[in-house]
Symmetry: D2
Subunit: 458 residues, 4 copies
């Protein structure tokens, strides 16, 4: 019989039991459920709502249950619905009568949210560690490839030359904001619902500050209805995950492109590649394709949760049981994405020779040339037009800007002078960049140093 | 070593193996994978690409594997990546050399899509059966509650009286379109990719029409690149599911409202209700709350798949491995929603007395009264205005329209006559409806009869 | 004063008026609203609910309003809320008293859905025309590029050679299913809600079949509550659009890749390219980037509508007013995407020389070589392994398979013979394909012929 | 001719121009575009890249343009693509040559993001103001309804009695976190991209700190590629909006329920209600229905933006032009939702009498009774069971708990004593609550005081 069965005559049908159970996934909360119950029992005893010996038996019983679960010897029962009821019922099986006092001044409504907030708090900590690890991997990759120039793209068309290090540090910047978002989310989430009970609080003399402290929360939530109704803490968490996933999907896309025959920038090692069941020559950058693809489910999980919560009245509705699986899936997925991205970045080699050979194409120095004219006091719009015509000449001649003779250049504008050739060619172009945050060598070296220090590398 | 390992020196890292495996979920395709392999082997033998004895040993081996799987004695191995490789490798373990011929003129790209289309086809058939079952349950509920009048709502404000049967049949109509959408999807999906191989077809003399026929497909897909690249068949399937889920979420919302103390229309039996761990008096309509809530994940699954496919180049990309879990989840969820909705509808009682008592409130007959005036040749806009003023009088007098005296009515408009009272009151109002598709008793009886026949009830 | 103002003393606040108005966008329905009103008036007169002369004055008045709207001389007023009230009020201004009879046996609930279904029906017809046009453009592009071989990709890694025509026809296949989906949606949508009134039908002697016929619907909807409550017809429509959008996003991605310096397959003409405000050399394939990007909003529109409808009770709720903007946006966006994709395909040139030069890389003939071994009676798995080792040899020697000497090949497997060279090289590989739906020249020619006939090209 | 037209021979087609333009919506950025250009020109002059007189003419010209725009006298041209080109070209028309120097060391890539971040910063400030306003309205509503008890619900079933004030303050708590999320987003967003140019920075001697300061940014962004590539600042903004929208949708649902005949808690004034075109008696809470409904588009806008950014390589891609409309729509929608929710809350009256009459139903005091038994040293699980049986007795007797005689109670458990009646009935139950954050009168008064002070009310 269900623990709530007092007023019920019949049990639920099999289909309803299967449909409404949550034990198949919420058992993941067991550690935090036990942690919460211990803090709760300790507080109840401190407040005189339970004897010290009952408290001790409860804590011993919970320890025994935790051991059984971790040894795979705990019998999770679907007819006991969820993790809370499974543990409480097992506790009753083990220690008997005192177990019946544990649920004093507590409802599953506040209990599950205590568990869930604790679980999410740990998940955020894990995620931030993985983010730092990926950042460090990217910084290492930068350190290994000093001075390597790659084409910078806009519209996937070659735009201007950039240092590979500069591009890799762009990802490090993105990830830093991702970590910041999670830290903000953690701070806002870290309040304790325990003691809100069903929705209205209780008349029993509990001490919510005591349990909140014991569980490492900042403070108890101030309003019991808010405490059991809202799910904004997971909505914010999944939003942060979705944004991180989008960042990683862009890394995935870029590295898949780079590993293609056509781009040919990188060669992944065998340890991060897979083959084909039919085409013997294939060596595919699957992990980064999956990083790109799995971003979709992190987005889908967020949509599920937003749609779930939309239009629900206060306080708890059973719909909200569906809040857990999207979170578990989102966290598991993104932890994997972060881990594999770090591994991939540790297992690629840049094809320096091929990159260098490919660089001249695409007129990457055209903007540098326009800046040259600006320095000669030509208004930028006019410079842009002049260089546009020089490029058109190159296209018709199938050559690069540095291949044009001074006469050819001067036939377009007399502002061109002998010193123009110091501005042409990819290496020259790179050397000219000097603005803060630019791809100029000195700027990039300084940034790299910043990150080495910040991430405590070396 | 992986089956595709010829050109590889090293295996993948543990993290990559964990991240890229699909066996944890695609093993669900085992039955259809085996079915496809048998058809393929039979065709290869028929075309002289394999001996008859090899074919027979392959088929026997596959039968043995199917038995082991169904008896829980098959050892699924993550290092063998997916269901295809697990089965092929096990086949090699069992029958040796001939197994190596099975993957002739086939790639995992076309193989998995063959499996997946077969799986989805079965899933659609199951869903249509469940839809019919829910329709039948709603028709039964109608038959049990003949003549029961309930308030019809717009804006959740009482609007006009309707027969409960009429409202229940609205759901039956919705579900009929849901089934139609699935049937269309099935017809468009039922084409065979097998033989498209990696993406380009093959030079070996296979017969794609033979395998297509053997597997019950309409015909082979006409273009090998299309065959392995597109996922529109699952996008369409999940779209259809999402629409059905939205329908069911509305049923869920409505029945949760009806089960509330405030509406009090229905009493669910204990067998479809659950209680509270803290509040002893609670009896909650959880299954319908979860029906409402789970619609969110069916929507989320669709978003995952749309986002996944967006912007991928042809042909196969590893991202597409992620196409399966959303489909499995969507199908499982919606099958449960349909089943539980049917069970719930079989386990509720309408509180006829309470309903009848509540009906007079809300001026449900106001529109009937306006129609009365139209019949007296008052333009509708003027009628609407007159009745509006009559309602205002009722509000100030805290009474219903039928409580107004003829004098009071005539003080608003002289068009009112003694016969007006035949149009007032909820029963009178219901009896006046006569248009096709309306809630008039005769119309509804005819519709109910239509569905009883169509669904072969009784 | 509002037309529904009878029982109201005060008007709404400015903020509420601004927030609840729909005239800023639903005026797009004017043509279908007028069409519906004419059919309705004609029916009312036929049924004796209105005089013939009133009917004629109403129709003349509506014609006058339509002229004013199309000449930009109609004064849309926010205080008249929506397109229906604006037109009805203007009709009253123009023809006086008879206008007040138009809304007999009609509610805005059924009226707006009649308009909206008519609008969507037209939109679907436009979309199908645009789809056919894009298909025809792709077939034309195929005809212009007979015999051109391009690398076929999986995982964006070179896989096997394919005819460009074969790849283009894959898109034609996808689009054909897109059109089929729309046609199914149109058929399921084409039922008439008019006469369902607020939600319950009416007691006035209307003829719903007459209006349904006049407006080209298949039949009236059978259930008045269903008629005004459900939005599945637009959910299905937006789902179909989302799937088409995903298809086009893949085309967009592919063509953006092809236009890159690195792939270099195509050169778009100036007429479909744009430049940069800073980099004078840039020529970007913006239209196809936007085709890819705009797919996101078509997906977003679907999500909006699904989320909107989730969990709403029957019948009409004001939330449903929000059903129109996502549909208008989705249709406008996708019509543009189809149009621009067709224009782009008409304005690109394939760089045949460069393509040919790039083809040897990537071991595109490896699978053909494995099939060669299968024909020599080597089991496929063994063949795959042998060729894998041959590729590994090529990688270490930095050469292609056809560059290996027979001795080198035979050092890997003695099954190789002199005739192996007939299977190596990209042209040889293409010529070997023969299966139905493959990229073999004869197969592709036959398919191209099929589409030329079906689309009535030339 | 386009400003970037140097290397182009032909203009784009009409369809491409229509499809790629952004001026129809990005003109909303004009004020921030002009602000940015002034800061940029000032910096250029300070750095010697422009004369002081050119700077002054540019600033005067920009002022003139701003005036024209605000007076509706500016001619926005689609052939000039976007807000930046329209303003720059107009500037050239007005002041001639000096205008050509404005785009020095700037690209549209960094320019638009500067504009957009400034726009979003203002939008966040507006949103926070509206949130505070809604919070204040809810606190005012609390102050007006001191002591009013309403049923608290879980599963939409009556659970425990709560003070209306307590429930209203739950919304205030939610909104406080919403504001906090926006503040965090603002802080993370407030960095300046200007000077990142196309993607690589520049070699011209600009001072990015000067423009950053002038525009009120915290600092320039540290990496030029990151600066022009990422859109996480709007993803975070739209996520925050979506969460707020979900909160408001729940308020909408709740108040729609409360305004129903069945709940009957509130009567909205005419100024926030609307009527029906057919049913004269209707008075609908449309604004709150639309608040609920419009949450869907705020969610849809987020999905659009997430899907848009997914899988894009660095740096700028034209897809990203599509980032603006979802943001504009999301902000406009949510500002309206906040405003109307505040107005609605200012225009409702609670039906105290009716509420009081309805309270006895639902056994709202059952949990208080269980706590009573706990105080008598009965373990909670046992208490829960005892009270469950007492409720079952009430159900069979169709009475409330307080109607049971002591004998009846003691027949279930001898722990019941005369003092039990101090715990029964709704008022008694409310008075018993005492835990921090509970609905006890003293707790709620203290919280209300907290918010009155914090929001500076009275």
């Amino acid at each position: 019989a269900k623990l709530w069965g007092g007023r019920f005559e019949d049990g639920v049908t099999d289909a309803v039991e299967r449909f409404t159970e949550s034990i198949s996934y919420d058992k993941q909360l067991y550690k935090h459920d036990i942690m919460g119950s211990k803090a709760h029992a300790t507080m109840l005893a401190h407040q005189g709502l339970m004897s010290v010996s009952d408290r001790d038996r409860i804590i011993e019983g919970l320890d025994e249950i935790e051991r059984r679960i971790e040894n795979g010897k705990f019998n999770w029962r679907t007819d006991r619905e969820d993790v809370h009821m499974n543990i409480e019922a097992a506790l009753t099986d083990i220690i008997g009568e005192p177990a019946k006092k544990l649920h004093t001044a507590r409802s599953r409504n506040d209990q599950v949210l205590t568990d869930f907030r604790l679980w999410c708090r740990d998940a955020i900590d894990n995620m931030i560690t993985r983010i730092k690890n990926l950042q460090a991997s990217l910084v290492h990759l930068s350190l290994k490839n000093e001075g390597l120039i790659v084409p910078g793209y806009t519209h996937l068309q070659r735009a201007q030359p950039v240092l590979l290090q500069h591009l890799l540090l762009a990802y490090v910047e993105e990830l830093e904001r991702d970590a910041g978002r999670l830290a903000d989310c953690r701070a806002r989430m870290n309040f304790c619902p325990l003691g809100a009970c069903a929705l209205a609080g209780t008349g029993l003399p509990i001490d919510r500050f005591m349990t909140s402290d014991a569980l490492g929360f900042t403070a108890p939530l101030r309003n019991s209805i808010d405490a059991v109704s809202d799910r904004d803490f997971v909505l914010e968490f999944l939003s942060a995950n979705a944004i991180t996933a989008v960042h990683l999907s862009r890394l995935g896309e870029e590295w898949v492109l780079w590993a293609s025959e056509e781009f040919g920038f990188i060669t992944p090692s065998d340890s991060v590649s897979t083959g084909s069941s039919i085409m013997p020559q294939k060596k595919n950058p699957d992990p980064m394709e999956l990083v790109r693809g799995k971003s979709a489910r992190v987005i889908g999980d967020l949509v599920t949760l937003l749609t779930l919560c939309k239009g629900l009245p206060h306080a708890y509705n059973r719909d909200l049981q569906e809040d857990k699986e999207p979170v578990f899936d989102s966290v598991k997925t993104i932890l994997g994405m972060l881990e594999v991205s770090a591994e991939f970045s540790q297992n690629i080699t840049f094809n320096q020779e091929r990159l260098q050979k490919a660089l001249p194409a695409g007129h990457l120095d055209a903007t540098t040339l326009a800046d040259y004219l600006v320095k000669k006091a030509i208004p930028f719009r006019t410079s842009h037009d002049i260089v546009g015509r020089a490029v058109a000449l190159c296209v018709s001649k199938k050559c690069q800007l540095q291949d044009l003779s001074l006469d050819e250049l001067r036939s377009i504008s007399t502002a061109f002078d002998e010193d123009v050739y110091e501005f042409l060619g990819v290496e020259n172009a790179i050397n000219k960049f000097s603005s803060y945050g630019s791809t100029g060598s000195a700027c990039v070296a300084s940034e790299l140093n910043y990150w080495v220090t910040k991430l405590e590398i070396r």
